[in-house]
Amino acid sequence: MSILNTKDILETIHMLTDQSLDVRTVTMGISLLDCISPDPGRACENIYRKITTRAARLVEVVEEISAEYGIPIVNKRISVTPVAMLLGAAPGADPVNYARTLDAAAKAVGVNFIGGFGALVHKGFGPGDERLLQAIPEALAVTDVVCSSVNVGSTKSGINMDAVARMGRIVRATAEGTAGNQCMGAAKLVTFCNAPEDNPFMAGAFHGPGEPDCELHVGVSGPGAVRAALASLPKDAPLDAVAELVKRTAFKITRLGQLVADLASERLGVPAGIIDLSLAPTPAVGDSVANILEEMGLESCGCCGTTAALALLNDAVKKGGVMASNHVGGLSGAFIPVSEDDGMICAAQRGSLTLEKLEAMTAVCSVGIDMVVLPGDTPAEVISGLIADEAAIGMVNGKTTAVRVIPAIGRGAGEVLDFGGLLGHAPIMPISRYSPAVFVGRGGRIPAPMQALKN
């Protein structure tokens, strides 16, 4: 091989075959702002037509690229304008019909999730927002592939505690509405602080109002490849060397994502949006962020040292990825979803990973408390308290945080919820039973912190 190095070729082949390296998602962001109509029937027709037109060839083209280039591309998805923004013009509309329309359009074009049944309420409720929030439990119960997210806080605006109080009740109601199906609805509902408007990953993807009409985002992955690279490093190598190796590996992974973004953008005639530089784990053995932390030298994820190791990993992934891509966005960093990460599941089962440690980790990871299964009798105000804590970490640190917890209705500690597929399975994790009800019940808004005053 004159141009290509044998070692490089074999490294790539091992990454793609044994180390689960893939492009996790190609997500088409579609604006629905031109679908707004005071007539709900007309609005739904517009939505269906726009999605099925814009995304008509998405799945076909992405699968074609995957086969032609030999790159596994796992998911094809769609994100849309937060639906609450369409509801304001239609006071009599039932938001659930909009969710059904999204579900039908997504199925028609063959994507596996569509995100955007949501609202941005970080400073207060606009027209349509409250109706949307109220409709979330039913919408997630009667649809299959619709995902919902609500932004309740931001560094600039503070935390809308009225929304936080409601979201605790909505998360519970959503789990109750899908209790017969592993409480699956709650796995498709995210409560954000500082939500990015161009996130390609579910369940929190939506197409923000500042985005263009239509664009393509790519979310990369590859925890297995990072872990395998670190396994080759001697156990006494200093952490500078660990960071350097993570950076180099993240660079390679991200370049693969950028290649797919360029090809898909050209073939679909849709501008490339962002690359999300994330390490997104799967339940497959070895494709785990927890295993990377353990490879660095922790006995079990969640032990003392975990937050520091995660901070190093999160930073190195960004530094490696940023040079490999044209535009960085989305969540970008290391995800720590419990049920979707084999190493996290094992750590939670053996008791080394607790909810409190996870909360600390969210100060330095890319998102937040993700895919955590709570006891079925967890009160709504406790969930609201957890959401408020996470939102506060995001608000003060100027980062995205989120809560996606699943109260396992009718089940208690020691039992397991199994969602199947990429969502995985997880043991029920204990949560503090002391009540924040009075604090949460006060409502109002936690003022924006000093960090907001940057001008």
Partner: protein, 89 residues
């Protein structure tokens, strides 16, 4: 339209002959071949030109995968752009 065919597994007689035979049947030109033993595994790497390939992508991949199965070796076909993107700045 260049691609890299990699064949990885326990060494056996006639690997190059088998793979290059199938390539020839599909009008795939072989531009370079290298082989080595890495971590007790036999690795053969072929740089090929697919631009005059006489069969569709899926069939080309299927036929090479079948050869791999017969030899009990792992055969992958990956476009050169993938390696360029990952290993060249």
């Amino acid at each position: 339209m260049k691609a890299v065919i990699t064949v990885i597994g326990r060494d056996t007689v006639g690997v190059i002959a088998r793979v290059s035979g199938v390539c020839s049947e599909m009008n795939i030109n072989i531009e370079d071949v290298t082989q080595s033993i890495m971590q007790q595994m036999f690795c053969m790497i072929m740089l090929v030109d697919l631009s005059r390939c006489s069969v569709p992508q899926e069939e080309m991949r299927r036929r090479l995968a079948e050869v791999g199965q017969e030899m009990r070796m792992q055969v992958n076909v990956t476009r050169q752009e993938v390696f360029d993107a990952m290993h060249h700045i």
